[in-house]
């Protein structure tokens, strides 16, 4: 049973009306061209705006964790602080380093930003708000996000600076290790959902989110995904590639201005991307909380637009990531690799097997309680 409530606040109403309007007035080619360009502009704008909001939110929440007030001078409650920072970063000079590899030095930030941009395009922000819906969505996201590390490695090498180099090597080792865990955690859920396509995966979670559906196995996978995703973004207790007390800033020590801005943006957006993939895969994506049988409740929940659900779930996960970041001290490199190779990966492999058994023996919540 698919509930078709009239949802007046959905953006998909607007987009489909716009599509029909264009189609009735223009030929197929021009319609598609205009729509592609608009989608591209929208994604780029959303990328920048989300990064600005995240930077503000992070600084505020960080401050609250440290019993401070955070930015509160630029605009009301410091709301314009990240805009001011952006203007500053755009105006700064791009410094050329002597005896650095000029070509690789300039190419490296683009790897980083393109990788996170490609991932960003595949995220379903709301009903009908997904730029591209591959039938291999989960695999695509994992594959494309692995390109970003090349930017880090090249940046570290081409800066001709030992701190950058050490930071890049650490980052590389960390990323390659944790990529495995996050991939396995996602594959666990692919086994449960039986599809890799984001839209189908979300539709399958209408009454029972994946994290509840696979109960114990799903929860383990969720926690592992959050840990390894957090490690992949080089943040929180896993920020030893840019450990400022030892390596000044790690791989982006020598960058300034817009190039540094690229790394900065990509770092924040990667945090958002990890959170939104976790939302989509584990927490039912843009679907509201719905309980089978409670039609009135479902109807009320359905009135809240899907993008609000998506962003609030993602925001919750981002808050969780910040909470972890400001709770724990930085790991040593051997502790970091121990955590991955001795704990997360073996647990993950066992967990994958457990999930296969759960699915094959019909012990998932959906099968047990007959939820659609």
């Amino acid at each position: 049973m698919i509930l078709n409530y009239s949802q007046p606040l959905e953006i998909s109403n607007l987009t489909s009306w716009f599509d029909q309007y264009l189609r009735s007035n223009l030929s197929e080619f021009w319609t598609l061209l205009i729509e592609f360009v608009l989608v591209g502009i929208f994604l780029l704008a959303a990328y920048a705006v989300i990064a600005l909001i995240l930077i503000y939110a992070e600084r505020k929440i960080t401050a609250f964790f440290q019993a401070r007030l955070g930015p509160n001078r630029v605009g009301k409650w410091g709301l314009l602080q990240s805009v001011a920072d952006m203007i500053k970063i755009l105006l700064k000079e791009i410094i050329r380093i002597n005896r650095s590899d000029r070509f690789l030095f300039f190419a490296a930030p683009f790897f980083m930003i393109v990788a996170s941009m490609l991932t960003f395009g595949a995220i379903p922000f709301g009903k009908g708000l997904q730029a591209i819906d591959f039938n291999i969505g989960v695999l695509y996201v994992t594959a494309v996000s692995s390109l970003g590390i090349i930017g880090v490695l090249l940046a570290g090498w081409s800066s001709n600076n030992k701190y950058s180099m050490i930071g890049a090597m650490r980052s590389g080792a960390q990323f390659i290790s944790y990529e495995l865990s996050s991939g396995f955690a996602l594959m666990t859920i692919v086994v449960l959902a039986g599809t890799m396509q984001f839209s189908q995966m979300i539709e399958g979670q209408r009454f029972c989110w994946n994290i509840f559906n696979g109960h114990i196995s799903s929860i383990i996978a969720f926690v592992i995904y959050l840990i390894s995703g957090h490690a992949e973004t080089n943040r929180g207790p896993f920020d030893l590639p840019e450990a400022e007390s030892e390596l000044t800033a790690g791989y982006h020590t020598e960058y300034s201005g817009l190039q540094f801005g690229f790394y900065y943006l990509a770092e924040y957006l990667n945090m958002f991307i990890i959170a939104s993939i976790a939302t989509t895969v584990f927490l039912g994506g843009y679907l509201p909380i719905q309980i089978q049988g409670w039609d009135a409740f479902n109807g009320i929940m359905g009135y809240i637009p899907s993008y609000v659900w998506f962003f609030s779930k993602t925001g919750f996960l981002i808050f969780l990531s910040l909470w972890v970041r400001w709770s724990f001290p930085r790991l040593r490199i051997d502790q970091l690799l121990n955590l991955e190779w001795k704990y997360l990966l073996p647990i993950n492999l066992v967990n994958l097997l457990l999930m296969v058994i759960l699915v094959l023996t019909g012990l998932t919540l959906k099968n047990l309680f007959g939820i659609l």
């Binding site: 591959f134 994992t142 390109l147 090249l154």
Partner: protein
């Protein structure tokens, strides 16, 4: 039309960066150019609609193998140093090997295309279908090659442990 344009762009990128990859004197730059070639190849797969192959190409070659390449290069002695030209004998030998390899693969591709004489257009394959094909034992299913390749990887892992083991 659009597909043709994209194809030509990708083809130019691939041929240009392939040449640059072999002519560049710095090994790390060669690796970067090779990376561009691999990504453009992934673009071909996307153009053909082979989404799965695209993702695998990006994940395995661009994201996996190239990262390890760059990692290994960074760990070598002086990665940024330009290389001296090799001896003429070795250069000629390398040239002959390259031409022979090119001829062999060109011959095989040409022969096979002639034999089939039509490119099979595959409609959107679902990942489930792919999985069944890859791990099935029936006709046109590939469990045996799959497992053989895993034995190869296993041998690699055992070898790596042997090398890394403390005596």
């Amino acid at each position: 039309m659009a597909q043709q344009i994209i194809f030509y762009i990708l083809a130019i990128i691939i041929s240009l960066f392939s040449i640059m990859a072999v002519t560049s004197k710095q090994i790390i730059r060669s690796a970067t150019y090779l990376l561009f070639v691999l990504i453009a190849t992934a673009g071909f797969y996307l153009l053909l609609g082979y989404n799965y192959l695209f993702a695998v190409q990006v994940a395995v070659y661009a994201g996996g193998v190239m990262v390890l390449f760059i990692f290994a290069i960074l760990l070598t002695n002086r990665p940024g140093e330009s290389h001296e030209n090799e001896l003429p004998v070795r250069r000629i030998a390398a040239g002959i090997t390259a031409v022979a390899g090119l001829a062999l693969s060109a011959h095989i591709i040409y022969w096979n295309i002639k034999k089939i004489s039509q490119i099979v257009t595959i409609s959107d394959i679902s990942p489930a279908q792919l999985g069944h094909t890859m791990l099935g034992t029936g006709k046109y299913q590939y469990l045996l090659p799959f497992e053989v390749i895993s034995i190869l990887l296993l041998a690699c892992i055992v070898g790596a442990i042997m090398i890394a083991r403390k005596r």
